[in-house]
Amino acid sequence: MDELESDKHVKYILSIEKKKDDVEALLMEHLRINGAYWGLTTLDILHKISAVDPEEVISWVMKCYHEDCGGFGGNIGHDPHLLYTLSAVQILALFDRIDVLDAEKVSIYVAGLQNEDGSFSGDMWGEIDTRFSYCAICCLSILHCLNKINVEKAVNYIVSCKNLDGGFGCTPGGESHAGQIFCCIGALAITGSLHHVDRDLLGWWLCERQCKNGGLNGRPEKDADVCYSWWVLSSLIMIDRVHWIDKDKLTRFILNCQDKENGGISDKPNYAVDVFHTYFGVAGLSLMEYPGLKSIDPAYALPVDVADW
């Protein structure tokens, strides 16, 4: 079987930071903080976070902070949004530097995005999605400020997005999708509300996502993609059903998506690599206890030694 090319992945992640002028950099500009979270977490799982200077990272993250409202943008000069606020808080947690934040202020920003029905908007423009429920709940939990929102209503909204197959969608009635399921199960796990989940029904749907090539897809009849190694596996672990899939086959699928020359992991074998599939691949392997990797917490998406609060 192929092996995980850890050193090359580390090199690949560190090299992204230096490329600032190509097309990929332009398209990533507005979500650079997401990219930083994916890259840094992967480095930490690979035991190589020491390759970056924490002070440099933290001072850049804090330049994305909007002091007036308490939210973070995706890069310096970009508007605040829940997606980027979570990444910022996760990065600070990675370096154990939550103390640089005014947690009260950030949590007021996050709590302010909760709607009357318990759902969350991503920002002041009001787009609603269970992704944002997860971002808010995960972020507030890291900051120890879950008491700032109405948790019961937040949970009820997520439960209203449950479908006949046991999965969850982005809004009530939305199709079950493994990415949305991770968000909903993660939020329910953090708030201690997994009793709302039909674990056996959802577990069966999730393990039906494993395709003949060993990889996982996100919905029926879609192609396998490395990203679902994270979304599906973490959900299966949270509901305690991960032994229902064939881990060896999935491990082989992920390893087969590596760029063995230049590092990085792609969505499918022989496709172009990118930083988030590198994260999803390495994190998926960590969830399957691949040797030599730090374990990652399936709900907080941070190494367990970081998520130990």
Binding site: H78, N163, G173, E175, E221, W244, D246
Partner: protein, 286 residues
């Protein structure tokens, strides 16, 4: 980009700024800050939003998986109100013609139906998509959305009988299709006793198993029925037992256990799941 930064920081809500946002969006339609600023400018200038809709029409085909565009589209449609419903349904149809499983398009479509209306032809639309691709899980999901939420159809119970018939035909045509099997269960959600007592359900399983003894979904549903207390016919028992002998040689003590053994053999990737199901069968199950 630098020009955009300048007008953004100066908060200049002018026609010049609007054209700048157009240019920047063409470079990177994912830059959400630009979209935010564009909405502020549109509001300040009181621009005809039908023109804005045309702008998104042109942009969306190339960027149909971009969250910002869909969110902007919803903002425009919401402002235009119920009259926009037809155009929005038509717009999502255009995107779904290119990719019938586009998650954003389905999400927008569900929002349009609930916020602006236009349910009249939705079941027919689902049918059309399913006729084109019966494996389209998004269309099955939309079908469930319509029969359970449309104000015109009377709800799930009123629709059950005709939907069961429709779903059984879909299963018979493609027994390996995961979606209609789950849909069939969904039609009886929370009413398992009805699922068990409706002969059509066990009959469709039997019919499939007669031609394909290792059909995972037929065996899986039958297993559920047995666990819910279903009493199998002699014929059904015979089909399972002959298949059990083919797969592993010896017979098990009860039918549900036999089914699990067959499933472990024919679906090895999920053998742990089926093994777990076997371990949970109570002695009262047939």
């Amino acid at each position: 980009m630098d020009y955009f930064r300048a007008v953004y920081i100066a908060d200049e809500r002018s026609h010049r700024s609007l054209s700048l946002t157009t240019e920047v969006i063409h470079l990177n339609a994912g830059n959400y800050t630009v979209w935010h600023f564009r909405r502020l400018v549109l509001e300040a200038l009181n621009v005809d939003l039908c023109l804005e809709r045309d702008f998104i029409d042109r942009l969306a085909v190339r960027n149909s998986k971009n969250y910002q565009i869909w969110h902007h589209r919803r903002w425009v449609a919401e402002k235009l109100g119920t009259e926009a419903s037809e155009r929005e349904l038509e717009f999502t149809k255009k995107i779904l013609d290119l990719d019938a499983k586009n998650y954003h398009a389905w999400s927008h479509r569900q929002w349009v139906l609930q916020a602006l209306g236009g349910w009249q032809n939705e079941l027919a639309y689902c049918d059309k998509l399913l006729q084109y691709d019966i494996f389209n899980n998004s269309a099955w999901n939309q079908r469930y959305f319509v029969i359970s939420r449309s104000p015109l159809l009377g709800g799930l119970r009123a629709m059950r009988e005709s939907e069961v018939g429709y779903t059984i035909l879909a299963i018979l045509a493609n027994p390996e299709n995961e979606s209609p099997w789950r849909y069939l269960r969904g039609l009886y959600q929370g009413e398992t006793e009805l699922l068990v007592s409706d002969n059509q359900i066990s009959e469709v399983c039997l019919k499939i198993l007669k031609t394909n003894q290792s059909s995972v979904f037929a065996l899986g549903l039958l297993l559920d029925l047995l666990c819910y207390g279903f009493q199998p016919s002699g014929e059904l028992r015979g089909v399972i037992e002959s298949s059990r002998n083919l797969e592993a040689g010896s017979a098990d003590s009860n039918l549900a256990t036999s089914i699990c053994s067959i499933l472990e053999a024919v679906d090895p990737m999920r053998s742990n799941y089926w093994g777990w199901r076997r371990s949970r069968i109570s002695s009262q199950v047939c």
